[in-house]
Every structure is written in structure tokens, then in C-alpha cells.
């Protein structure tokens, strides 16, 4: 495990970002602190521009085992296995990555009753510049609803900690997956000139 920990956090050698970037005042600081508070240590991800600071800060914190996976469903498999063996995890992804998950949600997370915790950075709305992103975004909530999965769209910083902390606790207590969708209203999203 020591070997794995050394190898799986390329970001740990980077200098930690300023304290303010991990404070509870930012949305990503709230995510990091809520994960920690709920003992969620394993955080595989497929990156997204909006998630950059969160991913960097997770790498910088030795509490977390965080690393990129090649596909979102791979990350779901990893945290599912870890949870069954006693280690809590969460997966970070973008909307288009969520769109690849219908099979694994319907055949692993939901029927096996695994408290899969997903943070989905929302592309495709509120200023999207790529038509494909806006179309794939429209598939996300119908998929979640078709499996009767718990999901929340976070738009406000003042509600965010409540949503994240309570949703994590509910997922674990009820052994049911949850998707926390990070709206551009919360994160600022990604705009055309970036």
C-alpha cells in the first residue's frame, strides 16, 4: 500500500495551494472537507476543467488516495470494490462521463446496493458553447430518474455543505447511490474563451 500511495498521487509533490483554496468558503473546499469528515479516502476521477482545483487539492492532501481512471465506469468499479472491502470512495467526473455509466449503475451500483457517491461537473447548460455537450447533458437526469436514483443539483454555496454532507450520509446509511450535480451557478462552469 505504501508503494501504491507513493505512486498514485503525482500531485503530492506539488506545493500545496494556499489555505484559502481549501477553506470551507469555496465549493471545492466544501467538497474536500465533507469527504474528509465522512472518511471518504478513495477518490478516482476523470478530469474536468471545473474540477481542476479540487483535484489538485485532493492530490496535495495525504488523507486521500486520488488518481485518474481511464473511464468513469472503471472508477465506479474501483470505488465499489473498495467499499465492499471497507474503504469509502467517491468519483469525480463531467456530464459526458456520466453519460457512459447507465450500464454500470443498472448492473452494479443499484442492484448490489452500493453507496456510490458521484460528483458530476455539469457541462451543457447555462452558457454551453459545444452543441454535443448540451445534448449529452439532457440525457443525465432522465437516466438518474429512470433508475430512481437520488440526485441533487447544487446551485448555491450557502446550501452546498448541507447537500453534500447529508447526501453522503444518506447514501451510506441507505446503501444507495447518489449523484451530486455541480451546476455552473455554483462553480462558474466553463466558458467559451477558456
Amino acid at each position: 500500500m505504501a508503494v501504491a500511495e507513493e505512486k498514485n498521487s503525482p500531485g503530492t509533490s506539488e506545493k500545496s495551494t494556499s489555505e484559502s483554496s481549501t477553506s470551507e468558503k469555496s465549493w471545492h473546499g466544501i467538497v474536500l472537507q465533507s469527504l474528509k469528515r465522512n472518511d471518504i479516502r478513495l477518490v478516482p476521477y476523470v478530469p474536468d476543467r471545473v474540477l481542476t482545483t479540487l483535484i489538485r487539492n485532493l492530490h496535495a492532501d495525504p488523507f486521500f488516495t486520488t488518481f485518474p481512471a481511464a473511464r468513469e465506469e472503471e472508477a465506479v468499479g474501483i470505488v465499489s470494490g473498495a467499499w465492499m472491502a471497507g474503504m469509502r470512495g467517491a468519483v469525480l467526473m463531467q456530464t459526458s462521463g456520466f453519460a457512459t455509466l447507465a450500464n454500470v449503475l443498472a448492473s452494479l451500483a443499484v442492484p448490489y446496493q452500493i453507496p456510490l457517491i458521484m460528483f458530476v461537473s455539469e457541462r451543457g447548460t447555462l452558457g454551453e458553447f459545444n452543441y454535443g455537450q448540451s445534448l449529452v447533458c439532457r440525457t443525465m437526469r432522465p437516466v438518474l430518474d429512470s433508475l430512481a436514483m437520488e440526485h441533487h443539483t447544487a446551485t448555491r454555496l450557502d446550501e452546498f455543505e448541507f447537500i453534500v454532507d447529508r447526501s453522503i450520509k444518506q447514501a451510506i446509511a441507505t446503501q444507495a447511490p447518489v449523484a451530486l450535480i455541480l451546476s455552473p451557478l455554483l462553480t462558474g462552469g466553463k466558458v467559451f474563451d477558456k
Binding site: 505512486k7 472503471e74 465506479v76 470494490g81 465492499m84
Partner: protein
């Protein structure tokens, strides 16, 4: 035997999935975890004798290795085996690089390679005639990857991986026989029993 399977890439002995799975299980003395991929792979794991440390997949093709990686990360002192078909692995080749990067020394991956989707009618996989799974694994960074030449070599590789310094992958060429048993398809019980087997919770 599928002719697509007789390529230089796979010129080792053609063995049998149930026989190899039984040989693996017979060697497990320390409550090792075993993750069985979908279809015949976990049917033969079931048939080899149910153990609470076995996890049987009923879908999510290709995720045996990622699930096993999660178990291996969560319990670094427990050895974890994952059984996967070649067709399943072709769906999730990226996971090999992830595993090579994390390099859990307690993870052994076994690829049951018959070059066909046996359970759907024995159609050849897209890689059947050309791809070498072990060479792919090596190129992904899994240096400790090898084809098992025969049953004795398979058992030798299993024993070798028990004390390996990094993850191991064993490729085995198998025949086109279906699985011997059929896993009881009760996902909640499978998951709950596995968690008991992993020692993370007690039975109700």
C-alpha cells in the same frame, strides 16, 4: 477450438477454465479475495466451490479488474485475485494502465482467453486473431505478466505472485467450453456475503 485462437500470440497449451479455477481455489489458504468477471468466468468460480471471499459479477462487463483493484487498495494485506475473460478485458483495457500506475502488490489478474464470446454464441472477439493480451499488459506497464504454458506453469505462476513485489497478470489460453455451474443471481446476497468474507461487517 476456434481457429482464430491458434496464433503465434497464443501458442501455449489450451486449458480449461473450470480446471484452472479449481486449481487456483485449491491454493487459497488465507481468505484471499476472488473477483469473478461476468458469465462463464464467475459461473466456474461458483462451481469451484462457493467461498464468502468470492464476488460474482452479474453485469458491468469488463469491471472485474477495477473492482479487484478497489478491494486491493482497501485491504493491502489481503491478496486479491481477479478472473476476467479476454472479451471483457478488451472492453476495459485502460484499467491495465491504472493498475500499473497504482501498482498494488497484492493484486493478481488472470485472463481466461478463448478468443470468443462463448456465452453469446462463440463469436470471435475483435482481437482473437491478432491481439496478444499479455503483450498489451506489459505495454501498459504491468511488467510481471506472462502466459501460462500449461497447468503446472499456471500453478507455479500463482505461487510466484503470492510474494510478488507488484501486480501480476497471468494469461491462460482456454477451450471453448461453457461454465460448469450457474451463479445464483442474487446481487444483494452476493455483495453482503462478500463483505462478511472481507471482514468488514457481521451477519445480521
Amino acid at each position: 477450438m476456434n481457429s482464430a485462437n491458434d496464433t503465434p500470440a497464443r501458442n501455449t497449451k489450451v486449458m480449461n477454465r473450470f480446471d484452472l479455477t479449481s486449481r487456483l481455489i485449491a491454493k487459497l489458504k488465507n481468505e484471499e479475495a476472488v473477483i469473478g468477471g461476468i458469465g462463464n468466468t464467475n459461473f466456474d468460480l461458483w462451481a469451484a466451490g462457493h467461498r464468502p471471499q468470492n464476488f460474482y459479477m452479474l453485469g458491468s462487463m469488463g469491471l472485474a479488474f477495477p473492482i479487484a483493484l478497489g478491494v486491493a487498495l482497501a485491504q493491502p494485506n489481503r491478496r486479491v485475485f481477479a478472473l476476467e475473460g479476454d472479451g471483457s478485458l478488451l472492453m476495459q483495457l485502460g484499467s491495465l494502465s491504472t493498475i500499473a500506475t497504482l501498482a498494488p502488490k497484492n493484486l493478481t489478474m488472470i485472463v481466461m482467453d478463448n478468443g470468443i464470446y462463448q456465452i453469446t454464441g462463440a463469436q470471435p472477439t475483435p482481437g482473437a486473431a491478432v491481439a496478444d493480451i499479455v503483450a498489451i499488459a506489459v505495454a501498459c506497464g504491468l511488467a510481471n505478466s506472462a502466459w501460462a504454458a500449461d497447468e503446472e506453469d499456471f500453478e507455479r505462476l500463482i505461487e510466484q505472485c503470492m510474494s510478488a513485489a507488484g501486480p501480476a497478470l497471468i494469461g491462460v489460453r482456454i477451450d471453448d467450453k461453457p461454465g460448469v455451474g450457474t451463479t445464483r443471481r442474487d446481487p444483494v446476497q452476493i455483495r453482503e456475503r462478500f463483505m462478511h468474507g472481507m471482514g468488514v461487517r457481521e451477519p445480521l
